[in-house]
């Protein structure tokens, strides 16, 4: 075997492993998300950290909206937030909800420090999450046409997120 052939066979194996990982995580993601909460999203007046009003329901009629429930104190969120931030950096519509994480300034400072580029609705008293029936973080909902199209709780991969948004 030449060096080139060796490199190729190595790359092939790596690619295979990556593919397996993606397939397995996607399946798991899907399996976890299969119980779509049978809920009506309350129509509320909401605002981002900088007080810009946002209407999630109206947005969801235009394109799928990813709503990410997280908290500064949630350990697993640290591993999910970068993926969500990456999604927000693309051409996806991503809005996050920070639960019980302090006032707007604190959440903004936290996002700045960690480099999270997604828009955030602050929910310092855990009211919004409660109204939406979300009890655990991290939770990701995909809203489409005013309804929850899918949801997942716990760790998820960038690939899983991307597929989720793509196939809505």
């Amino acid at each position: 075997m030449s060096v080139k052939a060796k490199v190729w066979s190595g790359l092939r194996q790596v690619a295979l492993l990556v593919l397996m990982f993606v397939v397995i995580t996607t399946l798991m993601d899907h399996w976890r998300g299969r119980q779509i909460p049978d809920q009506v999203i309350p129509d509320q007046d909401l605002a981002l950290l900088d007080d810009t009003p946002i209407d999630l329901l109206a947005l969801s009629h235009e394109q799928p909206v990813m709503v990410y429930f997280w908290a500064t104190w949630c350990g697993v969120c640290r591993f999910v937030s970068p993926s969500v931030s990456w999604m927000a950096g693309g051409d996806h519509t991503v809005v996050s909800v920070a639960i019980a994480s302090g006032d707007n300034a604190r959440v903004q400072a936290y996002q700045d420090a960690k480099g999270y580029g997604f828009d955030t609705i602050n929910d310092p008293r855990n009211l919004l999450a409660r109204a939406w029936g979300i009890s655990a973080t991290p939770t990701i909902l995909i809203l489409k046409d005013g309804e929850v199209a899918s949801s997942t709780t716990g760790f998820t991969t960038p690939v899983g997120l991307w597929l989720r948004m793509r196939f809505q």
């Binding site: 075997m1 060796k6 908290a71 500064t72 104190w73 949630c74 350990g75 697993v76 969120c77 640290r78 591993f79 639960i99 019980a100 604190r106 400072a109 936290y110 420090a113 960690k114 008293r125 855990n126 009211l127 409660r130 109204a131 009890s135 655990a136 973080t137 991290p138 709780t153 716990g154 760790f155």
Partner: protein, 715 residues
Amino acid sequence: MAIPLIHRLRRPRCLGLLLALCLALPFLQAQANTTDTGWLTDPEHPPVAVRLSLTGERDGNRLHALLEVTLEDDWKTYWRSPGEGGIAPELDWGASRNLERVEWHWPLPTRYDLLGFNTLGYERQVAFPLVLHLTDADAPLDLQGIFTLPSCTYICVLTDFELGLTLSDPGALSEDPDISHRFARALAQVPQDTGALGEVSAYWNDSQQRLQVLVDGDHPWRDPDVLVDDAAGALADAQFGVPRIEQVDGQLLASFEVSSWRELPDMTQVALLVTVFDEALAQEVTVAAQAGSAPVVAAGPVALSFLSMLGFALLGGLILNLMPCVLPVLGLKLHSVLAVGVHDRRRIRGQFLASAAGILVSFWLLAAFLWLLKVTGQAVGWGVQFQSAGFIVVMVAVTWLFALNLLGVWELRLPGRMNNWAATRGDNSHKGHFVQGMFATLLATPCSAPFLGTAVAFALGANSAQLVLIFTALGIGMALPWLLVAAVPRLAAYLPKPGRWMLVLKIIFGVMLLLTSAWLLSLLIRLWGGPLVASVSMLLIVVTLVLIGKRYGGKALAVTLSLGVPLVAITTLWLSFGGGRFALPENHVWQPFEQGAIAERVNAGDLVFVDVTADWCITCKANEMGVLLQQPVYAAMQADDVALLRADWTTPSPTITAFLRENARAGVPFNVVYGPGAPEGIPLPVLLRERDVMAALAQARGEHLGEHRGEPHER
């Protein structure tokens, strides 16, 4: 915790309370005081339950209440300053009437490594003592609280519990002895300033972002730890991490690297709450930090202890090669070198490096597996795999098949074939050798318990980076002989020329492996019962004999039988007599472990020696034979006032696992001595030494050891 009153959307979730109310309704006029909410649960998050109860004790306008929380599985909740990876529970009493304020006492938390973050919290259960201050001591009290309880595993959940108690007639309160007792027990877990510590000072080095806490005074420290937070919440976003603890001239020095994603406040302006705790001590004092560094020269014994642990790991890994399970693999490997010819150095080097890599990768896989268990909060310990029948069966099969292979009765040679297969591929493929390394590690697992136990128990208590380092050291240790040959392939040339001796050696290796199989089978007795294991053993023996007979003919079979039968008989005898204990005194009479018995005996003035052990734990056996059954320890343990309790962890036992966890141990062996002088217990090191046991017994008895400690310090 003053929180503005907010009206929330809430579902009725206080089933217990409702039920209690319904039942109590007819009597409500007569019995106007409800002093217990009962256990409250949220159907949306069943793993946690909460209960608020009044002890009934009254002290002027103060009432004692106990807020109890239970958490199932590995759910955890947090301390008042849990660090960056957590959020404190909150209580909002805004809707109460006749309540001036509430003192909330926080029991000493435990450090958890949650997903790489050091977090302070509680697992399984925690009880918070509350002191309620009434505005008017004699007026009715309407206690309405919302308790927001965070609980996390791989997800985090915030649960709100409505706590409602009413006292229409505080004067009619009577003390509930059971709740009072639980309150007192919970309060005993709360660090307080009783003046047990010497002077405590703190130093903030701004350029290094380092906070040092110096505790003066000659306390006999065993395993001290220090926590820092503040009452005002100015340090809520500061991450203190695990401090480096050093002892300098009898003083305790804790150094914290402080970090935050926010700008830190001026630390010298913050009233620091410093919690210092050790095995039998928990103190909380308020300190103001001075600018600069602590005026002591630190020696760094903690770093040394980690280094020595790495050394242990390296040595343990190296010794693994001599174990009967692994030696054959290394032996075979050297054979292959002889077969190939020692002159092709490059080739030998490549092969041995590949095997070493296989070993290292296997250990990393093990580390990753343990890390995963650890971050998900599972109870782990080295050796628990021997509690699983499935694992033992697989290992019996592997060792037995490999033994037969070495004995030459089994033609499909696994490592040998891979060897050939790899050899036919020439130098380009090192896969076969890599797999051999992994196979060696797999075979090593049954023999690894005594050597890995210490290192792994340490690694599980350490942070993730240290865990990886320890396992790397284990892997390198085990790979050392392979690396040595890789470095100096000429070494292989010093081996005798291939010949008949190799066949003999193979048979010796085969017999060693068969003995390993037998040992593993003997572990199954506890899990399967004797008769089944005996039948399986008989079956294996017969199959082995038939195969030997087929391969080598009747003569060899006769030789095997004439050698084997006495050997098996002697081994059985030896094992049934407890393995080489002929020279030892009769074993202690152990009572089965019962946690409740400890306090009972200690209160009666006795000593309690607890031995947590397991059949598969060779270190436990070594401790027993080497120390516990030797004089003078034997005589000391036989004294009339010593109760000997043995906890058998051979098969899984939740109570024993819980006991180990309470003592922050990952596995067996674990020995601890209780007594009037040490009601909290004195844990002994994993590897027992005579003087440790004797000192612990004396200390537990309340005898003063080491009077030299009492010398006053020159200032």
